[in-house]
Structure formats: structure tokens, C-alpha cells
Symmetry: D2
Subunit: 349 residues, 4 copies
Amino acid sequence: MPGNTFGTNFRITTWGESHGPAVGVIIDGCPAKLALSEAEIQREVDRRKPTSSRISTSRKEDDKVEILSGVFEGKTTGMPISILIRNKDAHSQDYTNIKDLYRPGHADFTYDLKYGFRDYRGGGRSSGRETVARVAAGAIAKKILKLKNKTEIFGHTLQIADIKATKFDKDFIEKNDFRCADKAAAEKMLKFITKLRTQGDTAGAIIEIIIKNPPAGLGDPVFDKLEANLAKAMLSIGAVKGFEIGSGFSGVTLKGSQHNDQIQMKNGKVTFLSNHAGGTLGGISTGQDIVIRLAIKPVSSIPKAQKTISKSHKNAIIQTLGRHDCCIAPRVIPVAEAMAALVLVDHLL
Amino acid sequence: MPGNTFGTNFRITTWGESHGPAVGVIIDGCPAKLALSEAEIQREVDRRKPTSSRISTSRKEDDKVEILSGVFEGKTTGMPISILIRNKDAHSQDYTNIKDLYRPGHADFTYDLKYGFRDYRGGGRSSGRETVARVAAGAIAKKILKLKNKTEIFGHTLQIADIKATKFDKDFIEKNDFRCADKAAAEKMLKFITKLRTQGDTAGAIIEIIIKNPPAGLGDPVFDKLEANLAKAMLSIGAVKGFEIGSGFSGVTLKGSQHNDQIQMKNGKVTFLSNHAGGTLGGISTGQDIVIRLAIKPVSSIPKAQKTISKSHKNAIIQTLGRHDCCIAPRVIPVAEAMAALVLVDHLL
Amino acid sequence: MPGNTFGTNFRITTWGESHGPAVGVIIDGCPAKLALSEAEIQREVDRRKPTSSRISTSRKEDDKVEILSGVFEGKTTGMPISILIRNKDAHSQDYTNIKDLYRPGHADFTYDLKYGFRDYRGGGRSSGRETVARVAAGAIAKKILKLKNKTEIFGHTLQIADIKATKFDKDFIEKNDFRCADKAAAEKMLKFITKLRTQGDTAGAIIEIIIKNPPAGLGDPVFDKLEANLAKAMLSIGAVKGFEIGSGFSGVTLKGSQHNDQIQMKNGKVTFLSNHAGGTLGGISTGQDIVIRLAIKPVSSIPKAQKTISKSHKNAIIQTLGRHDCCIAPRVIPVAEAMAALVLVDHLL
Amino acid sequence: MPGNTFGTNFRITTWGESHGPAVGVIIDGCPAKLALSEAEIQREVDRRKPTSSRISTSRKEDDKVEILSGVFEGKTTGMPISILIRNKDAHSQDYTNIKDLYRPGHADFTYDLKYGFRDYRGGGRSSGRETVARVAAGAIAKKILKLKNKTEIFGHTLQIADIKATKFDKDFIEKNDFRCADKAAAEKMLKFITKLRTQGDTAGAIIEIIIKNPPAGLGDPVFDKLEANLAKAMLSIGAVKGFEIGSGFSGVTLKGSQHNDQIQMKNGKVTFLSNHAGGTLGGISTGQDIVIRLAIKPVSSIPKAQKTISKSHKNAIIQTLGRHDCCIAPRVIPVAEAMAALVLVDHLL
């Protein structure tokens, strides 16, 4: 069961390692005659770059998108779209001193266990670097959804460590380094992260992804419920430890009579009086907003000394120096948006 | 994308409606020469039955398991195993008075939207009745895991409404109607549910699934991470609104240095000093216990009057009388255990 | 890679052994609101029964079709359709004396090799008995094609041993035991087979499947060409050793200028001046008739003594008595028609 | 159902158009720790190049293989292997004068029908150019089979037009432009093709693929029989119109007693006394040689004038000048070998 393909009808296959020559993605199943340019994909890919050196890695990647197939005279042909992104600013030598040590919280241990061998440079395939390919593919999925149904997908940071957003100003999201919709919270986050960084430590977060105007009727009974495929999509992102849709974990304290979203006709339209379901019923989208939340673990790469073992099973101490993010949440948002778009388009086509 | 198949190498396909003649499952990919009897499957299927009429439906189903293929002289042959379970105590007439109304919180609305037509008797295919087929298939998966790796999978109820278990007595789990590991909490739960039932209302819950001694090395990079497939499996269960692995949502308040599971050799064995990861690294099982938690929404079928609309889009009031569960958590546990076993075996084979 | 599922969008999973309690099939992905009765499926299933005791097995099967799910008030619901067919006239004791011998031309040797164990009664899963499930599923596929596009699929026997049909009277096909479209040839076939049977031997054949009015535009580039999926479908039938589409093997002696199907507008319609392609270009149906031919090997079960080995690798002599077909071609025709219909519908949906 | 992926466990996805910037393939599921160099893949890719300008296109492609991922320090890592091959000698202007005409025997008509739009340069995606990616992937599959089981896969030309090979000198195959194992026949073929070329016409052929020492036990019951997947693989090659395994179409004139491959122990080894089956029983490989034959249609691109229609449905006359093969068989052989290897490895892993 090779794990690098996602989707059935709109199917992507990604490839590439953090410090190899390039990363990329094949998108198979994209409808023909969709206008598509490298620039549109570039815009989404750029959103995934470090938002600020104060909270993120200082690795500088151009992430220049090249379309190698499937587009002719500015339009998709229905054939597979191959997208290539060269790696540039890879400091592989940063990793040689830890190549025989297992970084806690990373895939080093399990990759060696499973494959007997690994590309240790920057995590190789297990690096977050691979998500740039998801974002590139997601840009196309987003465009299809927008054209078909005016669907809009966006995410924001609800919480970093203990600091919670309590206001929601959508316009502010893309104007701050945390993609937080609450200006006061964003300021606290910045203060907190700036200090945490000096301590050689990292923070976790909760992010929310909102899908406005999703097509109704997406999702299939039993195993391919829309929320099941969304959950899979989100948990496939390295840092994600939890997934909720609608009321999620907080819904367990409600009674059935409170939790059920009652229905009424209003101005000739089917209207739900609440959205505890989060946009699906029986695994199929109702057309209401789809609302999901993700738990993002604190970044595992920390300069602080930690206990670990070597490949030859000796106890050791490790410090992960390199160039790392202090809180990855703002950069996970475009990835999670992309995954959401991919799930929806896959069900739509 | 028909949605009734789960898994790739150990692949199940379920079928059947709540009030049709039968439900069943085909298991394809089961290894040959495994000793297998109807009785073993029956034992697991029986665990899914209502635990007590005080908290559950009074529908009485024999749920008698029949193996129709794939087993010869008491052993599997490697061919597909077909399991049939006849429906018995179906009161379809309970549903005729609400056949044109959409029950809030149910799939009625979306099934009509998507298919233009539905079997309205007891929810038809969207009923929890289909999960009996999952449990039957899961019984085989559990057996394979137990034989291969002494893997044990069990679940318990952590919380109902506001009542939380604070102690853990494993032996008590199967001795109480809530599958709660805390005797005092179970007593409070019973009092609470008994009262809630008289109010015509229902409760939500959090359950935890623990996989002890999972095989190490299960899961694939990128999209088929073990936790991604577990999340999909769990969110495919109708009542589940949230999924966590390891630290989950509570992990976001930890620092990286606290959250990382440091590693040491102890008595010649690789030992993790904590288990915030919940048993996987980079999407691949480490061999540590896999620990997941699920948010279970309050049961949607309530006798209380609720606002809804009819098939012809008129406002209406609905009361779901029938025979329903007041808290479904204890019956979801065997289903979630089965789904966990199916995911693991699928990755194992 | 369990092998009992066929198709992606219209997906069937079959199960059951020759001498087990039943065989069956799940059809997943059938559109909702299709009128469907057991009687329609029964009609196709009955076409697969032995056409005459003079050429076929004397095993008498009712092959009574039972629909267990997915149909409500006479219409499909979009949910999986489970079809059950009980086995009746199974003489398992016929097989006990050869249970440790490998019948030449049968799967006995390879099943033991692969699975270490097999249901030896009548070939178990490898028996042609499993094809009854394909025919049942194919009946639904045929109906969909007929309703959507007036597509008609039928087969006939072109050749048995050296006897070739040279005339084509479509109406005669279902009026003779060989499904041969040439009356004179059918008479010769009957004489030949009647004699061959007394010699304890069996015959091979060539059959042709014609798909009239197929939907245009079916098939996908590169690996999922329509003819590729048709070839797979046909070679999955036990007795088939060869597949041709259009000109097939005889086309190799034509020149490009003769083989190319030139195109002209006639009465405002796109018209191909010949059909060497057999109905597809670049793997996609043109709308022309799809014409395929299959080589059917002589039946392997023969009463004549043959050299073989036992399970414990001793030399032995075997005679397959039981009740067997002398020429299976007429019974393969409904199976091949069903497989063709399944491929087309899978691409259509 | 996007059609650019082949295989389940050893899964390839190809992309690229004849006159786009590049073609390529992702191989997912390749085991880790396999030594792999660009040079080994290059060797196989070079075998697909035109063997001689006397019979083939004069298009000159470097076909330089670049590995972009999945290989580290000379060994595979278990991660997806991305292979890129830049297109060089593309004369796209050759096609502008026929961009609105449908070339008979080509996918032009059906691509426009299905996608409403196509890359007309050299057939775009439907060009044989895409097979270079299959050969690159097949090189890895061949290596795995060779290491695991000393399996050898090779093909040769049995017949061109009416000229049949009657001798078999394996060593001669790669020493002549036709990959014919019969020196005298090869000379006749050369004379024939040389003349045919001056007439502006093309020839068909029969090729044979032999798999020596295949692993035993490959293939799955019912739908995923080894020969079913081989048939699909072969019919996915553009020029293939027919497929046979073992006795194939000629087997229909044998009696069961002649056709059955009897079995005997010889020197302690299971030995089949003939190989009419062609290497499988019940869809599973026996370990005998797998022998398949393919019908290759005459090349469709011919300079002779032919009737056709334009995109706007006007009658027209077309001459396909460009640079084309006169008989494609010798170049199909490495592609068919690659597809055979891919099927076997997919079943093996």
C-alpha cells in the first residue's frame, strides 16, 4: 500500500525529499478546458512560505512552480498535470552530525525500522517540505470549487499554547504572521513566541478550516463519508494530532435536543437553525458551511538537549539545530485548506 | 466512488438496511488456514447488542452470524468470507408516519438530496444497524492481530455529558452497561441517563480505544499514515464528531520539549519515556500503545418535539418515537474496536 | 491484492464456492431510482444454465436469485445491492476420491501452492460456478446501458474445434444449444460434440461479443483504455486464453492504408468507412460497434485417464468423472456479455 | 477514473505529452535498499529508441533519464521514485497544418469528443512517446524480478505482415532491427519494409513475450488472475489489438485430452509435460514459462492520402507526413516487456 497517492477521481501523487533536487506532484483527473497558469498555483504556494523569520525557519525557498504537462494553450487538457518545484536552499550538511541519531518526535526511528534505511537530510520524505506539493495541487482544486459553486476555503489560528482568539475579523487573517482573526490575540501570540524562541522551545496550536458554500450532496454512505475523508486528509498532515467537525469534542456535553440542528423553510430556502453537525448529515454535505478544527502539536525540532538513541541503539543526547519553525500553525493552514479542497473536488467529480 | 468498501489488502464490503431482510459483509484478503468459527464472530457481534434496556433501544435482534463462504473444514481458504445476519425484530410501521419528514441530525435530508429517494424505514442504510457487519469483520481482524502479535484492542467510556471517569479499572469495563472503567463514574452515569431518558432526551460521550502491543512498522508515509487511516475509520462511524491520537487537543498547550517522547534504551529495549505521540511517528507505528479518543454526539433520535421540514419543503414538527438508545457510547465501543482492528490488519497484510 | 472485486464506480464483489451453501455478489455504485426486479436478473442468470444435457453438465441448479438489499419499493436506492443464490444440486462426494490429486488444467495445483489449503469440492472458488454472480450483476449493467443508450450486447459462437460459422442469422443464436448464428454450422457442431462426448473428451471454441450502440467517449487514456479493461474482464473468465478487438490477429497482414478506418460525413453524421479498430480509438469508444472475440480452451475436466501428481508429490493417474460440460462456449457467452456490460457501465458512471 | 496509474502495490503514474517539455513517471511502492542507478534505467530506455532509420522514425531523442527522488546514496529509500525525461527533438510545426483534421486510426477524434480540446502536437498524450515512461519504470521492475527469482523477460517479433519467423535463435534477437529470432525471416522483413516505406505504407506484426523463471504463486482468484492483468497491461499499449496466453486462439482446435498439461514428478521436481496453459492455472502462475503473444496493428500514421473529417465536421483529405515508424513492433517489444514486469512485480510485492 504505497502511501503517496490521495484521491480517486481527482487523484494526486506527490514525490520528493526535503534535500533532494526537487519535489512535485501529478494531478490526474482534472477536467479539461480549465484555464490554468503557473501564476495562480504560485500564489497559493507562496502562502505556505515562512510568514516571518520571527516565528519560522529562515530557510529561503523560491518554490518556483513549473507545469510540465497537462496544460496546452493556457487550458487543462484532461491529461495528468505534472508540477515540479526545485529545492534550492538546502543545507544538508546541517544534518550529517545527527544522521545516526533519532530525533524525538520525528519519523527517523520508524523509517529506519520500516525501511532499514533513510534519507536523513532534513527528514527526507517525512519532512514538511512535501506539503508544498499538496498546496500546488490544492490550488487547482480550490479553483474548480470556486468556479463550480463559489466555494471559499480559508483557515485561521484559534489558539497557540494557552492564548485563544476570542474575536473573528476575517480580513485580519492574512494580515498577521499567525493567520489569527483576532488582533489582540495575535499580539499576545507574537510576544509569547518571540520569548519561547529564545528558550529554544516550540508551541502547539489549534486551527480552524471553514468551507463556505460547499457543494451539497458530497460524500458517500458508510465508509466514504465526507467527514471521514476530511479526517484522513487532515491526519495525513504530519503535525496534526486531532480532528473535529462541527460541535466536535465540546458537543458531548450537549443534549440531543440541543445538538440536533433543527430545520425550517425561510424565504423559500431550507435553513438549519444551528450548525452543530458542521456541514454534513449521514456523511453527506448539506450545503451549510463545513467547519473543522485541528490540533497541531508543538514543533518537534528543538535546539534544547533531549535524550534519544542512535541507530545502533546506544543512548545519546541530541540537539536539533538547523533552521526550524517555532510554531507551524500558520504554515499548516494553507496545507489544510489544500487538503480540504482536494477531498471536496474528489467527491465532486 | 461507492462508499461501502473499506481497506485495500484486507478489504471489507458491507451491505444491508435497517429494516431489509438482512445485513452482511464480504471480507476479501483474509489469509488462508486461519481457524475460524461462527461462534467467535458471534461473541464480538453480541458485544454490540444493547447493554441494557435502561440506556438502550429495546429492539431485540438475534444477530445470528452465518458464514456462507471462504471457510472449509473450520479454516479460512483465502477466498472471500461472506457473512450474513438476518434482521428480525424490525418494526417498520413505526416509521410510516414520519416517512416524509426529515429527522434532525439524521441522513434523511441528505439521502433524498443525493439519491432522490430513500428507504425511510429506520434510516435504511444510514442506520447504525449496518455497524453489525463491521463488528463481524472486525472479529476476524482482531483474531489475526492477536495471533500475529498478541495485540489487544479494547475501548472504554471516558465521559458521558459532564461525568468523567477518573479511575481506570480495566476489569470493570465489560461489567457495567457503560463500558466505563471507573465504578463511581458508572454509577453517576446510570443515574444521569435514567433521568435523561424520562425527559425524552439523549447524551453524548467521549470514548477511548487502546491498542496494546500493536505491530511496529504499520502505516505508510504521507497520505496513508496509520493515524490518517484510523481517523477515517473512526469518522466513518455515524455518531463520531471528533478524533484524537495521543496528546490530541490537550497537547497544544505543551511545549515541544515537553511533548516530544524522548527515547532511551532500557534493559536492551527501545523505550519511549512518554507517549504523547499515541503510538506513531511519521505515520508509522512505533510498537508503543496506540491511544485514540472519539467524541460521540448525543443520539439524534429523540421523542421531544422538534422543528423540521417535509420532503415537499413544508415546515413541520417531528417526534421520533420508535425504540432508540439514550446514549450510544457503550455500543459504539465494539464498532470502534472493530474499525481499529481492520485498519491495522489492512496495513499488516 | 484480493481479487474478488471488479470495477471502480460500478463495483462488484463476488463470493462463494461451487459446493458451499451459496454464491453471491454485492453491486456497489448502482444509481438510485432504477426499477429493478428479481425476475429481470433471473432471466439473464437462466441463460447461463446448461443449454442441453447433450453438451453440458447434468448438474441441475435452480439458481434462484434473491435480492437482499439496495432495492426498496421496486427501485434501487443507490445503496449496495446484495444478491444471493443458494447452491442446490451439489454432489460433493464425487470429489472425495480426487481430493488429493491435482486435476490437469485446473487450479488445484496453484491454489494449494499459494494458499497451502483448498476447498476441493468441485473446484471450490475456482469453479465456473462463481460466474453466476457475474451474470447477475451484469444483468443490472445491461439494463443501465439499454436505458441510457439503447446499447445491446450479445454473443455468439464463431467456431467449435474446426467447425466455423460462415453465416450470421442473429435470430437463430438463442434458438440453438451452441448459440451459433449459422444453422448449418450448429448442426455440424452438435454431431461433433455428441461423438466427442462418447470419447470422453472435450472441445474448444471461439466466441464473439458484439456491443451495438455503445456510448461514445468511454475509456481513459494510457492505462485504462476501454479495450484494456475489456481484455482484463474477459481474461478473468477461467476458460479464456485469447482476446481480440476489431481486426485482432488477422489485422497484422493488412497495410496501414487498408487497416485505418477512414472517416466521412454521411447524412450529417460522422461515419467510419470500416471498423478494423473494433469500436475504439486511443482507448476511447467512438460509438461504432465494439467487436471482440475470445479463444475458449477445451474443458479441462475429462473422464479420460491422465497423468498427474498428488498433494504429496507422488505420480498418479486421474479421471475426472463428476458431471461436466463437453464444450463450455455457449455458457461462457452470457458471462462474457455480463463482463462487457460491467466494463462499459463502470466507465459510464 | 483517471487512467494514468497502473498497479496497486508497485504503482506507476505516468505523465507528459509528445511535444511538451518532458515526460515522466512516479514509481510508488518500490522496496527500499535496492541498488539503483540512472545508467541501468537508461539502458532499457535506449532499447526503445528507433532501431534503424530504415524502419523507424528519424526523430532523435536523447531520452536522458533523471532520477529526482526516492534514491539516496545509490539505493532506493522506499519513497516514490520520480523519473524525468526531457523532450528534445520535437517538431511541433509539423502538426499545425493538420491540427483541425482527425488522423484515421488515431485518438484525435475521440480525445476531442471526450475532452472538447486536445494537444494536437504529435498526438499529445496519446502518442507512443508516453511509453518511454513505462520502459523506465519497467527497468526497475525487471531488476527486482531478476534479483528475487532470476526471472528474465524478453520479446521477439514472430511475424511482420505475412512473413513468419520459423526458427528461434535467442542470441540473434537484439542483433537485428526487427528483434526477430530468425535470421532468414529478418532479412525478408527488411526487404519487405524497405519497399513498403517507399509506397508510403506501414505493416502490422505479431510479437511474443516470454517470461522465464517467473515466481510461482502470482495472481489472484477470479478478477485479478495474472493473465487478466497481463491482458490489461498489453491492451493498454496503443498499437495492440490482440492478446494470447499459451495455446491462445490455436488451442481451440485441440481436444481437452491434448490441451491439458499433464503433470509428473521428474528428478524430484513438479514437471508439466506441456505448456498450453502458458504458465498459469486458475489465474495463478505455476512457475512454468509465461508465454504471451500480441497482435500489433499496422502504424496508423501514413503519408498516403486518406479520407477524414475536420473538427468542424467537414470532409477532408489528410496526409500524415511527420517522421513515423513503418513497423512499430521492434519498439513495442521493450514496452511490452516493461508492462509484463510491472504486472509481475505488482503481484509479487
